[in-house]
């Protein structure tokens, strides 16, 4: 674990991309194949299955340290990360270990079926053999993902440097449904194996938000426009007689959306479509909450399938007849896509996302203003002669979102953030007036600067009314403008509504608390924009 720990420290200690790539490339040259493979897996979100609950880990850590559990629980929100809290809370290790990363993970997988006392003995022994930084990583293996500011792209670049292989080819290889338990370094990185490649999606091309004026894009006829749908971006693949559905987060979701099995009936082999997966009522998208019912579960009961059937609105064609056509201009790919879609039966779970005709930018602006009527969140603008690129690139694809809905609300609870913001109060609960009462209706934790969070943190400490563990009830005095993308009725919330993507748009220093919005105002927004 020493080598991996040293790599982690190097990555964690710098914000410079070049330093990170050098450190990773160096590691990929020197580490064992098994360690390399696990490192790629961990940094791309593939971690071993959780074999111990966090509740047990907390208890064991407190017990091992000879401290009361409440003291551990007090430390956790201050440190902000469970793996780190445990690593720091335990006494220094008395033994040592020469086992490498793959060795530890293999051992961890090995005890996954063991009875609890054995798992406990294993964990306590590990804690006593690893230094603080290794222990932190070991705990991360057990508890959750590694967020180290290493993007897939950066890792791929380092891998390309270390192996001398093409970066785009590697990016494609790293996608898909693999784990170090099901593959080897050779077959993942080096081998030429078409069957392993059958499920592989292409890296997604992501749009930038349009920050200036649409006029700046120049001649409108050089651009294509369509709705920006509010679902899950995905790829539908038919290859080798099979089909695969991938989310943008590189999650294989084939089983979650059985509707797409029919794609094999009408799409030729060797087809890859980029589109938006939406819950669909037959003519229009359903609210995102309907889709959420589908995302949360691996297998879908019939009733949910009936209530929230999905469809894909197709944006783009990436592969045709087994040929990667991403380098061809968008208008050609789109024409080919339209050709494919034209022959589909009307009840197919797939349809072409319609294009928006516009003569000039102000006409498109008017269309965009009506996006909510179409249950879209804005428009997408794509350059007609652009290739399909990898990752988030400026210039060819723009998303032009509708201005968010906003409401002025009162902060009533505060909780410390996690990770980088562990020592700041960043997670807040907001309320609106209902008569003389404040009714909580949403949480929000982003949208402000660190400097503002620091100010609010100092304020929270001086204005705490009550504490509930890590949560502080604060004096209802601060007013914030909350921006959000959508609103829905909700029986689970006291206020009766649920917001989509709520965040703090600004701190309304100018607004006295009595002038914050009311529940009636929220219900009016729900009436106008709720779906």
């Amino acid at each position: 674990m020493k080598q991996f720990s040293a790599l982690f420290q190097q990555l964690d200690q710098t914000t410079r991309t070049t330093v990170k790539i050098t450190a990773l490339a160096d590691y990929f040259t020197r580490a064992s194949e098994a360690d390399r493979l696990w490192t790629i897996a961990l940094f791309s979100g593939r971690r071993p299955r959780r074999v111990i609950t966090t509740a047990r880990l907390r208890e064991w850590a407190a017990e091992r340290a000879g401290q009361p559990l409440w003291l551990f629980e007090e430390c956790y929100p201050i440190v902000g990360d469970l793996a780190e809290t445990i690593a720091l809370f335990l006494p220094p290790a008395a033994q040592h270990s020469d086992s490498d990363l793959a060795g530890w993970i293999t051992a961890l997988i090995g005890i996954s079926q063991a009875p609890e006392p054995d798992r406990k003995a294993f964990v306590l022994d590990a804690w006593d053999r690893l230094d603080t930084s290794e222990r932190f990583l070991f705990n991360k293996l057990i508890t959750g993902g590694f967020r180290v500011g290493v993007s897939q792209k950066l890792m791929t670049r380092a891998l390309a440097r270390a192996t001398g292989r093409d970066e785009a080819d590697l990016a494609h290889r790293l996608m898909g449904d693999w784990t170090p338990e099901t593959t080897t370094w050779h077959s993942l990185i080096e081998a030429n194996d078409p069957s392993a490649a059958a499920s592989r999606p292409y890296p997604f091309y992501l749009a930038h938000g349009l920050d200036g004026e649409a006029d700046d894009l120049g001649e409108p006829s050089a651009w294509h426009a369509e709705w920006k749908w509010d679902g899950i971006r995905g790829q539908l693949i038919t290859r080798a007689g099979d089909h695969f559905v991938w989310s943008r987060g590189e999650e294989l979701m084939t089983d979650r959306f059985p509707e797409f099995a029919r794609a094999r009936d009408f799409l030729p082999d060797g087809t890859v479509i980029d589109g938006e997966i939406l819950a669909w009522d037959g003519t229009a998208p359903m609210p995102f909450s309907a889709l959420q019912k589908r995302i949360g579960r691996k297998s879908v009961p019939k009733s949910v399938l009936r209530e929230a059937p999905v469809t894909m609105l197709a944006y783009d064609l990436l592969e045709q007849d087994g040929q990667d056509i991403r380098a061809r201009p968008f208008h050609e790919r789109r024409a080919a896509l339209a050709g494919l879609m034209g022959s589909l039966p009307p009840d197919a779970p797939l349809r072409l996302s319609p294009s928006l005709a516009f003569a000039d930018w102000s006409a498109l602006a008017q269309l965009r203003d009506r996006a909510r009527d179409h249950r879209a969140e804005g428009v997408m603008i794509k350059r007609k002669d652009a290739p399909y690129l990898v990752g988030r690139k400026r210039g060819d694809w723009w998303k032009w979102k509708l201005d968010p809905l906003t409401i002025d609300a009162v902060m009533i609870y505060a909780q410390a953030g996690h990770g980088r913001r562990a020592t700041l109060y960043t997670d807040f609960t907001f309320a609106v007036w209902s008569g003389n009462d404040l009714v909580p209706f949403t949480k929000a934790y982003s949208g402000l600067t660190d400097a503002e969070f620091r100010k609010i943190t100092a304020w929270v400490k001086k204005n705490t009314l009550q504490r509930f563990g890590p949560v502080r009830q604060v004096r209802p005095e601060l007013v914030f403008e909350i921006a959000f993308e959508g609103i829905q009725p909700s029986s689970r919330h006291k206020s009766g509504i649920a917001l989509r993507f709520p965040r703090m748009a600004r701190w309304r220093h100018d607004k006295p608390v009595q002038e914050a919005n009311t529940l009636d105002d929220l219900n009016e927004i729900l009436r106008l924009y709720g779906q």
Binding site: P68, L71, E74, D81, F89, K462
Partner: protein, 337 residues
């Protein structure tokens, strides 16, 4: 009727009614006993000041013309029928725990302290008492300081690595105490040490009182970094990212603070390196000091007061939280003074 306690906690700060003085008061008072020269302890505007002879130069330097008397460590002084003396707190040079005694009632106000020897300050000495006032800046078991030698090795390794990478290491630390402690930890065989004005001013005061510090080169407006190859720059964190810092070109930044123990804080500071070194006691240091005092009554101030107090009470002490005016500053690692 029970007698008034010897010390009470008032809006001005800790007060001894019988002696007519305050300890580290935060509002102007007639007579102030000062534990050490950090800004949150030695404030301007008091009628008369009393501190250790070793702390006096810095306090004079910071507060200008004030009425100030000094005592040596351990030297007793009668004030209004109570006996007062100053004892080493190990926090920064001249820092003191203040002992106040009336008969069998003995209070020790420890100010800021650490129990480990930093090689610069007079090491902490336990003082027996019945009532002990303790800080709790790092009063959680997750704070456990590495040895000073191992941190020194980390910093010097970083310095060497920066030279190889063609970068200038810029180390940020509190100007009074921490900076001088770091100076003595640096390996001057690696290269010259350049200092920011705020650090150098304190260096000058300490050198004048006979504290031995390695040679430093003050960064003056005319200084050309190219004339000092392989140098490390020692500055206050406030100087980072300022026009002052720009002259050094490609820098690697490092912070030296106990808060660097926490990854979240390290990342928030966006420094390239964080070095865990503090002039406050860690968890076990706090407990060592509290046990060493032999006191039954513990007053917890400044830091994780509520958590630490609950812990002490569960362990059998009679502990309570003492409010400080500036609760909240400690969580933000701008630096703890």
């Amino acid at each position: 009727m029970a007698r008034e306690p010897l010390l009470t906690f008032t809006p001005e700060g800790i007060f001894c009614a019988q002696g007519g003085f305050h300890i580290d008061p935060w509002r102007p008072v007639a007579r102030a006993l000062i534990t050490h020269g950090h800004a949150d302890h030695a404030r301007p505007g008091h009628g008369a000041y009393l501190c250790t002879d070793l702390a006096a130069p810095v306090i004079r330097h910071r507060l200008g013309t004030i009425t100030l008397e000094t005592l040596r460590y351990g030297e007793p002084r009668q004030i209004g029928g109570v006996e007062v003396s100053f004892h080493p707190a190990g926090h920064v040079p001249g820092s003191a725990q203040i002992r106040v005694a009336r008969g069998g009632e003995v209070w020790v106000v420890s100010g800021d302290y650490k129990v480990a020897d930093d090689g610069l300050s007079t090491p902490f000495e336990p003082v027996s008492c019945t009532h002990f006032v303790t800080e709790s800046t790092f009063g959680l078991p997750v704070f456990r300081w590495p040895s000073q030698d191992s941190v020194a090795a980390e910093i010097n390794d970083w310095w060497r690595a920066c030279i190889v990478a063609g970068q200038t290491p810029m180390l940020g630390a509190y100007a009074l105490g921490k900076a001088q402690r770091l100076l003595r930890m640096l390996d001057t065989d690696i290269g010259p040490i350049l200092t920011h004005g705020a650090v150098e001013n304190t260096n000058a005061v300490m050198r004048a009182q006979g504290i031995d510090l390695p040679e430093t080169v003050p960064v003056t407006p005319g200084l050309k970094p190219a004339d000092h190859p392989g140098a490390l720059v020692l500055a206050t964190p406030a100087a980072f990212g300022s026009p002052w810092a720009r002259r050094f070109g490609r820098v690697s930044t490092g912070f030296a603070s106990g808060w660097m123990m926490l990854r979240g804080v390290r990342r928030r500071r966006a420094a390239d390196r964080g070095f865990v070194i503090s002039d406050h006691a860690d968890w076990s240091g706090l407990l060592t000091a509290i046990r060493g005092s032999g006191a039954e009554h513990i007053y917890v101030t400044h830091g994780y007061t509520e958590i630490f107090t609950r812990y002490l009470n569960e362990c059998g002490w009679n502990a309570r939280v003492v409010p400080t005016e500036f609760e909240g500053e400690t969580l933000d690692p701008g630096e703890t003074a």
